[in-house]
């Protein structure tokens, strides 16, 4: 068993207690709304609370009052974050310059997400992709679906188009799971319980008929992981009736 040592004494805030929603304005500039639940962590009431939004080398910081008196700032416009992308959020609890508690890499909900989703697994970014329609960006702290903002009606297609869903999302599930299990060789026994990889594996395991993912043991055959990933993709398609959706969309179009 691998143990993690915490030499700094700072505490970790569960992401489930910190909700963020990003809204895109018509001019492309976003703002956010935050819901912070800090009760029950025995944090000093006079400790300051800061929310930081960041993406790439861009960063903004917002004071949210103190633990005992949380105050959302009037202005939460993300005008220093490049338009089109989804920023991540960080919450810091600070006293005399020291970090008492922190939660990092919080993925916000966006206007393109289903508001009923409790957890945002896949934020969507609308950016200039040249001639590419979509791609999955796995290079940052979490997977992001990037969609070409230059295609007319694409925002609506991402939200409601059955063809887009049928053709794109199963492939995303496959790519993400392959990245977690084959590229990163991730094992949830040693990692942050609510990091994005753990959330995705739990999402896959909750699909009908999907077992626990194969162990991280290097001796576990690669094929086991491949089979497990394909089973998860099949289960995803079964749960969301992907074939039926795709067919019905084609029939509507005739």
């Amino acid at each position: 068993m691998i143990r993690k040592l915490n030499y700094t004494g700072r505490r970790k805030l569960p992401r489930a207690n910190l909700g963020f929603q990003v809204h895109s304005g018509e001019d492309g500039v976003s703002s956010f709304w935050a819901s912070l639940s800090l009760r029950g962590f025995q944090l000093p009431p006079d400790a300051e609370v800061f929310v930081e939004a960041y993406r790439g080398a861009s960063y903004m910081r917002f004071p949210f009052g103190t633990v005992g008196n949380l105050v959302m700032p009037e202005n939460t416009i993300l005008d220093q974050i490049p338009p089109g992308g989804v920023p991540l959020f960080r919450v810091k609890i600070v006293r005399d310059g020291r970090l008492i508690a922190v939660a990092d890499r919080i993925v916000p909900h966006t206007d393109a997400d289903d508001p009923k989703d409790r957890l945002c697994l896949l934020p969507v970014e609308f950016i200039d992709l040249g001639d590419i329609v979509w791609r999955l960006d796995l290079s940052e702290d979490h997977p992001v679906l990037q969609v070409n903002a230059g295609i007319e009606g694409i925002r609506e297609a991402v939200r409601t188009d059955s063809s887009f869903f049928s053709l794109v999302y199963p492939e995303i599930v496959r790519q993400v799971l392959r990245h977690i299990l084959l590229v990163e060789n991730y094992g949830d026994e040693e990692c942050d319980p609510d990091d994005w990889q753990g959330n995705w594996l739990r999402f896959a395991q909750a699909l009908p008929g999907v077992s626990r993912p194969p162990s991280r043991n290097l001796l576990a055959p690669l094929l086991d992981k491949e089979f497990w990933i394909e089973a998860a993709v099949q289960a995803f398609c079964q749960k969301w009736r992907v074939r039926e959706r795709f067919r019905s969309h084609g029939e509507e179009g005739r």
Binding site: F50, G56, A57, P82, R98
Partner: protein
């Protein structure tokens, strides 16, 4: 000196500029396609009037000072993130962002040094826009990062500007400048940007990242931050 109205390369212009850069990388020695700068086929007018001159810049910060003045009151949205505009400027000043070498060749490096990348991880690497972005945050206090020639991204810009936790924190930039900038000679102190020498730039990045685990570095004033640095940095403070 003749002044020119700033324009933007259009899609066709960008493709042609990329092709030219690719050609240079494969050993071609043709002249920059300057005709595109004012050709309506490959460039278009900006909605604001900005006049610039073809002048020589001593450093990236010198360019930033000049172009900021030239931009004047131009709306921020027309400048920030406008890849077509920054690509045009790169072509306009191409002899400085990609100077001719003694053997007649040019070494352009990656496209993103001349055409801003769509990928935000490389956006700050554009030689002009990346410098301007830092200058917008810190003005002349960004000298440590921007004191190099226009075609040269120095190690301070390279290591600090790509890390949002560092480049966006004025206290960290202030401390790095105090440690490593030689004010008398307007350049980094000798050896400060190279290797993992005790207390040099790469160690600074490591140590700041460690401190960031314990402290909120946006709440720590530069003096206190300097005190938190281990003894290996003392020699840089004294120089």
């Amino acid at each position: 000196m003749t002044s020119y109205s700033v324009r933007m390369l259009n899609d066709e212009g960008l493709v042609a500029f990329r092709t030219y850069l690719r050609g240079l990388r494969t050993g071609e020695t043709t002249s920059p396609p300057r005709e595109m700068l004012f050709s309506p086929r490959q460039s278009e007018a900006l909605s604001a009037q900005i006049a610039i001159e073809q002048r020589a810049f001593r450093s990236r910060i010198d360019f930033c000072e000049y172009i900021s003045d030239a931009f004047g009151e131009t709306p921020y949205q027309l400048i920030e993130g406008n890849a077509n505009l920054w690509s045009w400027l790169s072509l306009f000043y191409f002899d400085q962002v990609c100077p001719l070498r003694s053997d007649g060749s040019r070494r352009p490096g990656m496209d993103y040094r001349h055409i801003p990348s769509r990928d935000y991880r490389y956006r700050h690497r554009h030689l002009l826009e990346g410098a301007y972005h830092v200058y917008q945050m810190y003005g002349m206090d960004a000298a440590l990062l921007l004191c190099s020639a226009l075609h040269n991204e120095n190690s301070f810009h390279h290591e600090l500007a790509g890390r949002q936790g560092l480049i966006t924190n004025p206290f960290i930039i202030n401390v790095a400048t105090d440690l490593y900038y030689d004010i008398r000679h307007n350049r980094p102190k000798s050896g400060a940007g190279r290797g993992k020498a005790p207390g040099a730039l790469l160690r600074f990045v490591d140590v700041i990242n460690q401190l960031d685990m314990t402290f909120d570095l946006f709440s720590i004033q530069p003096r206190r931050l300097m005190e938190l640095l281990p003894a290996e940095f003392d020699s840089w403070k004294a120089r």
